[in-house]
């Protein structure tokens, strides 16, 4: 059982790493498009890794109810489809409105 705990902790640590890196990128990058680039992938992967770790935890610790993590599998599928679609919609809207991309030497905005 110690092996399962270590595996679940590793999955949670990876997910938290990507989540925190996405948030720091949202703070640090100089432009709207670069911030979208930082968060659109890191958030999807971080939430997916956290949910995969929790599915493994459920299958080994609550083995009497194996149908409960099916909801989490649906949640992973939905996030992996919907989050890039929302990011693409926002980027297309900003490009149509006329937000200029950042170039080297411009000020941060």
């Amino acid at each position: 059982m110690v092996v399962v705990v270590v595996i679940v902790t590793l999955f949670l640590a990876g997910g938290l790493f990507f989540t925190l890196v996405g948030s720091i990128g949202l703070l640090r990058f100089p432009d709207f498009y670069t911030r979208l680039h930082a968060t659109g992938k890191c958030d999807t992967l971080g939430t997916g890794l956290i949910l995969i770790g929790l599915i493994i935890h459920h299958l080994f610790h609550y083995s009497g109810t194996p149908l409960v993590p099916v909801r989490l599998i649906f949640l992973i599928f939905f996030i992996f489809i919907a989050n890039p679609a929302a990011t693409h919609a926002l980027m297309k809207a900003a490009y149509e409105v006329g937000v200029k991309p950042w170039k080297l030497g411009d000020e941060r905005r």
Partner: protein, 88 residues
């Protein structure tokens, strides 16, 4: 195992507060919309972690509902910002 879930929830809440800075002070409406989308995605992971911390699987249904509302809200807001109106 419970303490791992507690520490993970605290770190996710810390990441949410980092994104809240961009919601409050971000220049322009697009930065704020991106930050709200990021907060919604992190809230899904936070709800599932709370569901395992308190051992109540009802939180997973709330997480599913929150994911759908977050996606629909972001797409509709992007469409409104692009066209200036919702239905055309």
């Amino acid at each position: 195992m419970i303490s791992v879930f507690l520490i993970s929830s605290m770190l996710v809440i810390f990441a949410i507060f980092l994104a809240l800075y961009r919601v409050i002070l971000g220049p322009g409406v697009f930065n704020r919309t991106v930050a709200v989308n990021v907060i919604g995605t992190k809230t899904i992971a936070l709800l599932v972690l709370i569901g395992y911390y308190t051992e109540r699987p009802e939180f997973f249904d709330i997480a599913l509902l929150y994911a759908m509302l977050n996606f629909i809200g972001t797409v509709i807001f992007a469409r409104y910002l692009e066209r200036g109106e919702l239905w055309s």
